[in-house]
Structures are given as C-alpha cells and as structure tokens.
Symmetry: C2
Subunit: 139 residues, 2 copies
C-alpha cells in the first residue's frame, strides 16, 4: 500500500462529496474532535452547523481567530484503500443574516431541537492523501 | 434524532471494534488530524503504529507528556444513526522491546515500507455518543 498525495482541487472535490467529517479544535488547551455534517461553499469554505459544534462555538466566540482542522475520509478497512482530506484554517461564526439564511437552507443539522450557530472554516491549508495499491504509484 | 451519551465501557467496546480511527494532536501550535489503524490493549490503552503517525512521533519525542485525542466513529450518512467515541490522554512512545514486539505482532500498519514507532495513548478521558431515533430516548 502506498500513500499518494492529492492536489488541492481533488481534495476539495472529495471533501464536498463526503456526507460528514470531523472538526478538530483546541479546548482548554486540549485537543478536541467531534463529528459534524458540512457543506463546501463555492469559495471552498467549509460550513458546519450542528448541536455538536456548540463547544466549538463557545471557543470560536472567545477567540475570533481560532484555527481549526476539518477532516473527512472514506477508507475501506478490508482493502485498506480510500482517501482522507484535512482542511486547516481560521473558523469564524457567520453573522451576516443573508448568509445564515442561505446556509440554514443548504445544511440541515442531524440532531434536532437545539439552537445552533453557523461556522465557516477558511481553507488556508488543504492536504489530502489516497491509500492506493503500490502498482498505482507510477500510474 | 437524539444524542445519547455512552458509558465508558460501551465506548471502549465500540472503539475496540472499529478498524481504524483518527489521531488528533497539536503540531506547531496548529490542530492536526490523521487516520490510522489501532488496537485497544487489555488496559484500554489505544495503540497505534503507522507511517501516518510519523509527524506525531516527532511531536511525542519532543514532548514526552503530549496530550492527544483519538476518535473513531461509525455513522450512517443516510439514516444519521451511529456512534462516535473520543479518548483523550497522554501519548507515549513505547520503548520496552517486549511490548514493541507484541504490538508489532498484533497491529499491522496499512502502509508499507517505512520504519514506524509504536505509540500508546492513555485513556484518561473517554467520551462517546450515539445518534439515535428520538423514540429511543426513554429506552
């Protein structure tokens, strides 16, 4: 098995195709991670909106320039083939009412009944890898 | 859809059943995340060993008391049902030759050809959640 690096374009396309991912942030100086669903906006911003993000929301509010990572993957545990993409950048709470309304239409939270915030992650650093059979290396 | 908290025992059993997860750590003051395969040892330590952990290995070497998080999940993106578990604790490079040999037998890296290290994550904090239909709340 080999690891093949993905281009930024391939990585963003795969992330956009994924139904959910995991947001990674620092909370009380500890690494934190939780699954959320997302959309990738036309400007490649990763937008999340769920109850699961509530702790992240507090953290983003407390520090407007918080850097987070967002990861999605699709890996076959039997064949050990698949991909993983990580976007790293500043997460900001969306405050513009028109953008909030638009994202609330496009992105339905999986967990009901709790007020949530809309957070947009700037795609400053985009990395991706594909696990491929060694023979594909030269392809 | 509701979020149901898992007990530590349930969470560790689910994590042990998962073929892989994602290790979350801080690198150059930035959140970092990458998929790896793992085993859960009898003492609930999460053990990882892959080329994907090489950046983590450098970080662990530089700071013997580095705290990491390890996440695994199994979520159906259609039905929005499933679970996620996060273990948070100190990650240490395993240096005892007998333990290394044992883990090298039990845990085969998915990516070939690169010298790796064995890292054990102490399960100090274990959290888990299950996404369940609202009707299951009272079950």
């Amino acid at each position: 098995m080999d690891v093949v690096e993905l281009s930024r374009g391939e990585a963003m396309r795969l992330l956009a195709s994924a139904p959910f991912g995991r947001v990674v942030f620092t909370r009380n100086a500890m690494p934190a991670v939780r699954p959320v669903n997302h959309i990738v906006d036309t400007d490649d911003f990763v937008v999340i909106r769920t109850r699961l993000a509530s702790r992240l929301t507090s953290a983003v509010r407390a520090d407007a320039e918080m850097v987070v990572a967002y990861e999605a993957d699709d890996i076959d545990p039997i064949g050990h083939l698949g991909w993983s993409v990580v976007v790293t950048g500043i997460a900001r709470q969306v405050t513009d009412p028109e953008r909030i309304a638009r994202y609330e239409r496009l992105l339905q939270p999986w967990v009901e009944g709790v007020r949530d915030s809309v957070i947009a992650i700037e795609p400053t650093l985009v990395t991706g890898l594909r696990l491929a059979h060694s023979a594909e290396r030269s392809a």
